[in-house]
């Protein structure tokens, strides 16, 4: 990604919007690298070591992201924040899928894409899936109250980004990140455990 300038990314996203399939593939590669980089770092930290092909969910997250205004994607750091959001969507969608399948459902369709959903052979199970789904729901409510606080949680919790990395990605000061993280954490604890 380093070799791509801000202008390149913006141009590519403009081309994607105009329907350029080659540009879409290139942006997908850029985004995928960012997602994988953050996910690998998180995996090293938390010890997740299973493998599962979740092509459909990655693609779904990608389609969501490129659907955003390309002018919002102004830097590699911002791209990192988008990748952290993609990780949240992937993991939380998967948790909801696990929960639905466990309940013998199928009533809730979690993929937006027409590709097959992943096989439930790995990933969050039971209480983990419930907690992740509940966290995702609470974050949606937090977004309504204060979207920046929700973004900070996405970057730090799902992306494993440091305070400084999060500050750079969101264009705010490290102090603001610390403040948002602390109050969002207290709010989420009250919502989820209270």
């Amino acid at each position: 990604m380093e070799k791509h300038t801000r202008g390149t990314v913006t141009r590519l996203l403009d081309e994607v919007r105009r329907g350029d399939r080659a540009a879409l593939d290139e942006v997908f590669d850029l985004l995928y690298d960012e997602i994988q980089g953050l996910a690998q770092r998180q995996r090293r930290r938390w010890g997740g070591n299973h493998t599962l092909d979740t092509t459909a969910l990655v693609h779904e997250a990608y389609l969501k992201l490129v659907g955003q205004d390309p002018l919002d994607v102004e830097s590699r750091a911002h791209f990192c924040a988008l990748a952290a959001r993609a990780i949240r969507h992937i993991l939380c969608n998967y948790a909801r899928l696990q929960r639905t399948q466990k309940r013998g459902g199928g009533l809730e369709r979690v993929t937006l894409d027409d590709r097959d959903p992943p096989a439930p052979s790995a990933g969050p199970v039971g209480e983990q899936a419930e907690l992740l789904a509940a966290l995702d729901h609470a974050l949606e409510r937090l977004e309504d109250l204060d979207s920046r606080q929700a973004n900070v949680v996405e970057c730090r919790f799902f992306g494993g980004m440091t305070v400084q990395e999060t500050a750079t990605a969101l264009g705010v000061s490290p102090r603001t990140v610390k403040r948002d993280w602390a109050i969002a954490q207290a709010w989420l604890h009250r919502e989820l455990e209270g």
């Binding site: 997740g48 599962l52 990655v58 990933g123 993280w181 602390a182 109050i183």
Partner: protein, 84 residues
Amino acid sequence: MSPEPALGPRRRLGRLFERALDLPHEERPGFVEAARREDPELGAELESLLASHAAAPDYLEALAGKVLPGALGAFPTRHPRTGP
């Protein structure tokens, strides 16, 4: 004139929360009470969030340790377009 005239309630709450955490523990009740006098609703929310923080100051770190190891197993380790 207020020093932070453009701040909405949520941002004011964030500033108050930050300032409260910077205070020695014994000074927080008085700080919360002052906030309540100025804005009862905001003060009540501040008190509630400070209690939540005190109950679990590292809540998200603990939650991550609980859910992410398994959840990250759901994450693809090979490129979806190019395969392994």
